[in-house]
């Protein structure tokens, strides 16, 4: 049970049958071509090579590993995330392109797993980012990973895997949890609020106390837009 209120998804207004076909095609392609981010956050990563290589061959499902977060669709959190890693995971998650999906592999992502006593690992992944799917086990077999990915594919095809929107809609909640763990001056280079505006996903949960705190602390990293003006001040001597 996630403690986040599910925002009712507004039914698409498009009634043009062609548009529906197109949407369906897009969803189908999204579900059939999944790029996994090559990021071994924890010990579950050891079961990914078998899943990708000759024996289980995820490529036959259209699943490929990718290196950079920009290219990837799926963030596999393979196991426990130490707090130091969690920062990088959030950075990486925010850099990934939507629609993006997070899969928590291993029990540790659900509830801390066997490291529940550890001071160094975060216990509950979905406090910090929305998670589409958990694959429990310590560690889940490659078959289980593939099964989970297939479930995700079905959900993408059905248009249900929308957790990434949740991150924008409830950014304040996630940011709050992040701030609680990392300190008040926590800031990632990605400007999530402006992205939410960009995707038209700004909602009540996007802004709040925590984002205000962020704005107090942050150095804004706005995109370096091209500037044509000549009448700027002279270069500093």
């Amino acid at each position: 049970m996630s403690s986040i209120k599910q925002i009712p998804v507004v039914e698409a207004k498009r009634t043009n049958p062609l548009a529906r076909v197109f949407d369906d095609l897009v969803r189908f392609c999204r579900s059939r071509s999944l790029f996994i981010l090559h990021y071994c956050t924890g010990c579950g990563a050891i079961e990914l090579p078998p899943a990708m290589t000759s024996r289980f061959d995820m490529e036959r499902l259209g699943i490929q590993p990718m290196v950079s977060p920009r290219q990837a669709d799926i963030l596999l959190i393979t196991g426990y995330v130490s707090i130091k890693t969690l920062k990088r995971v959030i950075l990486t998650y925010e850099q990934m392109g939507s629609p993006k999906y997070v899969i928590g592999i291993c029990s540790c992502t659900v509830n801390g797993g066997m490291y529940w006593q550890s001071y160094a690992t975060a216990k509950k992944l979905d406090e910090y980012m929305p998670v589409d799917l958990y694959i429990a086990g310590c560690m889940p077999r490659p078959e289980a990973v593939i099964e989970g990915l297939q479930q995700l594919m079905d959900r993408i095809h059905a248009g249900e895997a929308n957790s990434w929107e949740d991150y924008y809609r409830n950014y304040d909640y996630y940011l709050g949890n992040q701030q609680k763990l990392f300190g008040e001056d926590w800031q990632t280079p990605t400007d999530v609020i402006s992205e939410a505006k960009h995707y038209d996903l700004l909602s009540n949960g996007t802004l709040g106390d925590h984002t205000r705190l962020l704005e107090q602390h942050q150095k804004p990293l706005e995109a370096l837009e091209m500037r044509l003006g000549h009448e700027q001040k002279e270069p500093a001597k």
């Binding site: 999204r30 071509s33 977060p69 920009r70």
Partner: protein, 298 residues
């Protein structure tokens, strides 16, 4: 030829190139899978990838040049396709000739270089530096080969080059007339595809996929499209220079796929070279073969 016909040709040629190119990508991935004892991707996988990438909601851009780079990468190849005669369609091949074609084939990589440059990522910049170095490596044998073929045919017009080869059947094909050049050309072609052992600029473990590092969504999609075009252009160019082009679509495509299958089957059996080893290799064997080949031609 009427303007309408020409327009239809100019539209069809890149389109065909794209579709065939996607099949070539599929073939490449299937060959890799077979060598790695896997099943490989489904038939429409290249299409799925491209559609998915273009349909991503997030399209992260580092600036206008980043966008333009991708446009140039795609557009350069689209333009290049129209200079590359295929059975039944000549496009504007006689307006440019092979030297122009070679130069047009450089535009995508240079456009990409610009786009990557703006990403402000050192990995990307190193990748581009390596890609340009690789270009310096494989273009030298390539121009030797092109020189030889063009000199032998007495023209730079690809249509004429194909026609001279088709004149006497198999005996007048470039590969039988100029076997050394054909071998050098094959090596240069392999290197220009950027597959192992010449894969110095993708190199994930070294520079985390180099130029592609900041590319996501339609940017990466553009590169996938570019890859389709690249495979097609390289294969078809080779077929036109050495295998007598195609009289029918069937043998044309057959030749193209077969010729592409050669480097693909080799690629997955090798690690990648270091940059200087690549240069050394490309500047030694294919150049030597090419020059000897040219000596025979002249």
């Amino acid at each position: 030829m009427s303007a309408t016909e020409l327009l239809i040709e100019l539209t069809l040629m890149p389109l065909v190139a794209f579709v065939v190119g996607m099949m070539m990508v599929l073939m490449m991935r299937r060959i890799a899978a077979k060598l790695q004892r896997r099943v490989g991707p489904p038939f429409f996988q290249p299409l799925y990838d491209i559609v998915k990438l273009h349909s991503k909601r997030t399209q992260v851009s580092h600036g206008l040049i980043h966008d333009i780079g991708i446009v140039m990468a795609m557009g350069g190849y689209i333009a290049a396709e129209t200079l590359l005669p295929v059975p039944g369609m000549n496009g504007i091949a006689e307006k440019g000739g092979i030297i122009t074609l070679l130069y047009l084939m450089m535009i995508p990589s240079l456009g990409l270089a610009l786009g990557v440059g703006q990403c402000a990522n050192p990995n990307g910049s190193i990748g581009i530096a390596r890609a340009l170095t690789a270009m310096l490596a494989y273009d030298i044998p390539l121009v030797i080969v092109v020189f030889g073929v063009a000199y032998a045919a007495g023209t730079t017009n690809l249509i004429d080059i194909i026609a001279t080869q088709q004149a006497g059947g198999f005996e007048t094909w470039g590969v039988t007339q100029m076997p050394l050049l054909a071998i050098a050309g094959l090596i240069a072609m392999h290197a220009s595809l950027g597959k192992q052992p010449f894969e110095i600029y993708i190199a994930p473990a070294e520079i985390a996929t180099g130029p592609m590092v900041e590319m996501g969504g339609k940017y990466l999609g553009g590169l996938f499209v570019m890859q389709c075009f690249q495979l097609y252009t390289t294969a078809v160019l080779y077929v036109s220079l050495f295998l007598g082009g195609g009289t029918t679509w069937f043998d044309f495509l057959l030749k193209s796929f077969l010729v592409l299958a050669i480097p693909m089957s080799i690629a997955y059996l090798f690690p990648r070279y270091r940059t200087e080893d690549l240069l050394r290799l490309m500047w030694k064997w294919p150049v030597m073969l090419g020059l000897i080949g040219i000596a025979f031609v002249i």
